[in-house]
């Protein structure tokens, strides 16, 4: 008999609706799987055994009634403060806006998804709960900052997770763990009770096993239907430098092959002033990261402390210039998106590096993976546009590869159409792969 967490989120929802599976049975199977599998992964360090039962009794009969999910540590819940990967209660307990939207659809929050502390890191290595291990190889990192969200879905502990994305924090772990990760358009849901409210880069993200599951979660989050349309015949733009040129060959080849399989019309696209986007992102990010209190500082890992301390020294003169560049590249992106339906490039420059040596070798040289990870992803955060990472291959070392698609503001439905089209074109070859720690 199929374990309920080997069903897709859609199948779980349908089974409950038809009466083939009760919400209580699904929850018990989920809790059992968390106990069995998560000690090797550390995706969900806090599990709400009893509170999950209470949630079932209170859940509305929405489209996701009874479906267990995890929620990243960046969102306040009515019974738990948001800790943002630290040991401290940083946002008081309460019903955060993104949580409310999912709660109203009937989900059951079964646990807190582990994350890189303060969201400042793309590996998931540094967290008050310890590092997240990748279900494809526990010696490798799961990505970050939403590493627990992606690893938990890839390990089939839950079928969906509420993540967050300030510089790729949903798409990077999705790419590393072989699942779908969608960053929403900036400001498309209420931000109260969410750490993203403190920056102009953050947006909630949804992690799921495939495009169809991501569509259900996204529709619940946006509180509007996202009807499925054909993803064929779309026009895709490639921005070669730096997004395709400075990535490893296996990654570029797998992403190119997926675009070819999709049969889309592919053309080269130029984004004016793109070379300044990274500096603009960095200037604003430093300004918005601010200075944590000494109490918070005392709990942080050395690398996170060093990043924040370096940021404190950055001259403020860069911020107004960054804002001018930001405005300009948004116009450049809008102009590019008049000629194509979306842009495409690898979500991460390589597969997941190891936990003890998170460096990668790219055509430009050997580098700490965070640097090119943020480069590949921060453009969507700088502009506010939505973007998705889709699994499109496995490397020789049997690690997942993710393709990123970036679309116009509010185009989540089209991005999901594209994701599902690639799944069909590849006979679901990559979304159906099962990580070794999920077997």
């Amino acid at each position: 008999m199929t374990h309920p967490q080997d069903l897709t989120l859609r199948q779980q929802s349908e089974a409950i609706r038809r009466g083939d599976l009760s919400a209580k049975e699904l929850l018990e199977a989920t809790l059992e799987r968390l106990r069995d599998r998560d000690p090797a992964i550390n995706s969900t360090p806090v599990v709400f055994d009893e509170l999950s039962q209470v949630q079932i009794s209170q859940a509305p009969a929405g489209p996701l009634y009874g479906v267990p999910i995890t929620v990243k540590d960046m969102y306040a819940l009515p019974w738990r403060a948001a800790r943002n990967g630290t040991t401290l209660n940083l946002i008081p307990a309460g019903a955060s806006g993104p949580y409310r939207n999912l709660r109203d659809a009937g989900v059951i929050v079964v646990g807190i998804a582990n994350q890189h502390e303060l969201g400042i890191g793309s590996t998931g290595i540094y967290s008050a709960y310890g590092p997240v291990h990748n279900p494809w190889n526990p010696l490798r990192c799961a990505g970050g900052s939403s590493g627990g969200s992606a690893a938990g879905v890839a390990a089939r502990l839950v079928a969906g997770s509420l993540a967050s994305d300030s510089g790729g924090s949903t798409r990077i772990p999705a790419s590393f763990c072989g699942v779908v990760g969608l960053k929403l358009t900036y400001g498309s849901v209420p931000y109260d009770g969410y750490f993203g409210a403190a920056t102009t880069f953050s947006a909630p993200g949804l992690v799921a096993r495939d495009g169809g599951d991501a569509r259900m979660l996204t529709a619940a989050m946006l509180q509007r239907p996202l009807p499925q349309q054909s993803g064929s015949g779309l026009r895709v733009g490639l921005v070669r430098q730096p997004f395709w040129n400075d990535v490893d060959h296996e990654t570029a080849d797998a992403c190119t092959k997926a675009l070819t399989l999709a049969g889309w019309k592919v053309s080269e696209v130029k984004i004016d002033n793109l070379e300044l986007a990274g500096a603009a992102f960095l200037a604003r990010l430093i300004a918005e990261a601010g200075i944590p209190s000494p109490e918070v500082f005392a709990t942080l890992s050395e690398p996170t402390r060093a990043l924040l301390l370096a940021g404190m020294l950055a001259p403020a003169r860069f911020v107004p210039r960054a804002d001018r560049v930001r405005a300009a590249v948004r116009y450049s992106l809008a102009a590019a998106l008049e000629t194509v339906d979306f842009l495409a490039w690898p979500a991460t420059p390589s597969t997941a590096p190891t936990l003890d040596d998170p460096w990668v070798t790219l055509p430009s040289g050997r580098v700490l993976v965070d640097v090119p990870n943020v480069r590949q992803n921060s453009f969507a955060n700088l502009t506010g546009a939505p973007a998705i990472s889709i699994p499109v291959g496995l490397s020789d070392s049997q690690m997942p590869i993710g393709l990123q698609l970036l679309g116009p503001w509010g185009s989540e439905a089209r991005l999901l159409d594209a994701a599902e089209h690639i799944e069909r074109a590849s006979d679901r070859a990559f979304v159906n792969l099962v990580a070794p720690l999920a077997r």
Partner: protein, 63 residues
């Protein structure tokens, strides 16, 4: 102590944060790297990059 260390320590002291020498070495490395990237912004022509309002929820309005 170098000028960087003096300056950095004074800044952190104002924020009530104590740092050790090892930490300062890592901070300096990160700071120098970040500054080299940020200085690209010093070279933009402000005439070509006018100050404009940004609404991140939507595409920019046509000019």
């Amino acid at each position: 102590m170098s000028n960087f260390e003096d300056w950095a320590r004074a800044t952190y002291l104002q924020a009530g944060i104590e740092v050790n020498n090892d930490e300062l070495a890592l901070v300096e490395m990160i700071y120098v790297s970040a500054l080299s990237q940020l200085e690209m912004l010093d070279r933009i022509d402000l005439e070509e990059f006018p100050a404009r309002g940004v609404d991140l929820r939507h595409a920019p309005k046509a000019t």
